[in-house]
């Protein structure tokens, strides 16, 4: 049980936790938060993979670390868009829920 494996398990648990949050929490904001948890769990796995691939004096394999940085910025952009959407929906309807008003009368063009 070395350091990378420990953080690997931590990443796996974070992913499971985030997925639980994504499925269960009704408010969209909490879902966005849960999505960020899952994202950070996956990036932690990238970090673990990088750490396991450490060689030639580098702290870890630089390629997954580069992917993590790109991933974090993508996740942030997604969060920003999602939050903007939730706020706009809240301003428009006074409530930000995902359940459609009534499932049978969906929107029209």
């Amino acid at each position: 049980m070395n350091v990378p494996t420990l953080f690997g398990l931590c990443g796996a648990v974070l992913v499971g936790l985030g997925l639980y949050g994504l499925v269960v929490s009704p408010q969209p904001l909490r879902k966005i938060l849960a999505f960020n948890l899952v994202g950070s769990g996956v990036f932690l796995l990238f970090g673990v993979v990088a750490r396991r691939g450490a060689a030639l004096g580098m702290g870890g394999d630089p390629v997954p670390q580069a992917l993590v940085i790109t991933g974090i910025v993508v996740a942030f952009s997604a969060t920003a868009l999602a939050v903007a959407l939730v706020l706009r929906l809240h301003d428009m309807t006074g409530a930000a829920t995902l359940a459609p008003a009534d499932a049978d009368e969906p929107p029209v063009a």
Partner: protein, 315 residues
């Protein structure tokens, strides 16, 4: 060595505890705060995994800007909180969801344990070719030379996100200024901080950018710092967010990507391939790209946090 393992173990337990609290707490505002703490703890974990670049990014973007977004949003949505919470699914679906999440986590854990022991790595290949980029920091070399297209697409992602956020503008406010109008007591505490901190922030940001070539750092981290400083000044009411229809603002937003593309295409005649750097000129070109990108990223991130325009442009 098991002392370090003990510390890591405590850190992991702390991270998981904060994460569980963030998911299960009833009040969304508390969850936002919880996520900020979680982000900073995660930055510690990245340091323990010897990925300081990632730690910087996680602390700046994950812990910092994302938490700002979440806290601002949860405050604005506090009114509908109780109603929304009523729609929480009953115990059975929650149990089922926990079961599903748990089994995915267990599967992942098994796979992580079963990863091949001599872990395959590209570190030797990077070490072998890093000389051509003239950079000391391997991660920046990967980001800007070996996998340059990822970083180019990364900058484009930010612009797409900004376009998408601006699409949500109400028609009457198009061309207006993003975010609400912040008025605070001009000689209050926040204004004082907003006058004192930005200069330091800018110096640190430029330092982080410059050092990124050889030591952990880089344009994303520097850009985030600049964005934070600008947001602080805006929230303290010292300056105002620019109207989105200004031509100069659009120019700054696309500057980083344009420079990146220009240098990339310049590589075709000079270095034989798109996104290749001519012999010996790699480092100055990369630093030029990083500088231009830092500005664009700073403006884009700040505007993403401020959201779509919410008021007309009383110039």
């Amino acid at each position: 060595m098991n002392l370090a393992l003990l510390f890591d173990g405590m850190l992991v337990v702390l991270i998981l505890a904060v994460a569980v609290w963030t998911v299960t707490v009833r009040d969304s505002f508390a969850a936002g705060i919880g996520y900020a703490v979680y982000g900073l703890l995660l930055a510690l974990a990245w340091v323990r995994l010897a990925a300081v670049d990632a730690a910087l990014t996680e602390a700046a973007i994950g812990g910092g800007l994302t938490s700002v977004l979440m806290i601002r949003a949860t405050v604005r949505l506090r009114a509908g909180e109780a109603a929304a919470r009523a729609a929480t699914p009953g115990p059975l679906p929650r149990l089922l969801a926990a079961l599903l999440g748990g089994s995915v986590a267990a599967g992942l854990a098994l796979v992580v344990l079963a990863l091949p022991d001599p872990a395959p790595t590209l570190a030797p290949q990077v070490a072998e070719h890093i000389a051509t980029t003239g950079l000391g920091n391997a991660v920046t070399a990967v980001l800007l030379s070996f996998r340059a297209i990822d970083t180019l697409l990364e900058a484009v992602v930010l612009i797409y996100a900004l376009i998408a956020v601006w699409t949500l503008t109400p028609d009457r406010f198009w061309g207006g200024r993003p975010g609400p109008k912040y008025e605070t007591d001009p000689n209050g505490m926040l204004a004082y901080l907003a006058r004192l901190l930005p200069p330091i922030g800018i110096v640190v940001a430029v330092y982080v950018l410059w050092v990124g070539a050889d030591l952990p750092g880089g344009k994303f981290q520097a850009g985030t710092l600049l964005a934070a400083m600008w947001l602080l000044a805006i929230m303290a009411g010292l300056t105002e967010a620019p109207p989105i229809s200004r031509r100069w603002l659009r120019g700054v937003l696309v500057a980083g990507t344009v420079v990146f593309l220009a240098i990339g295409f310049a590589g075709v005649p000079l270095a034989g391939a798109f996104l290749a750097y001519p012999e010996g000129f790699a480092k100055p070109l990369i630093v030029a790209i990083e500088a231009a990108s830092m500005l664009s990223i700073a403006f884009t991130l700040a505007l993403l946090v401020l959201g779509p325009p919410e008021r007309r442009d009383q110039a």
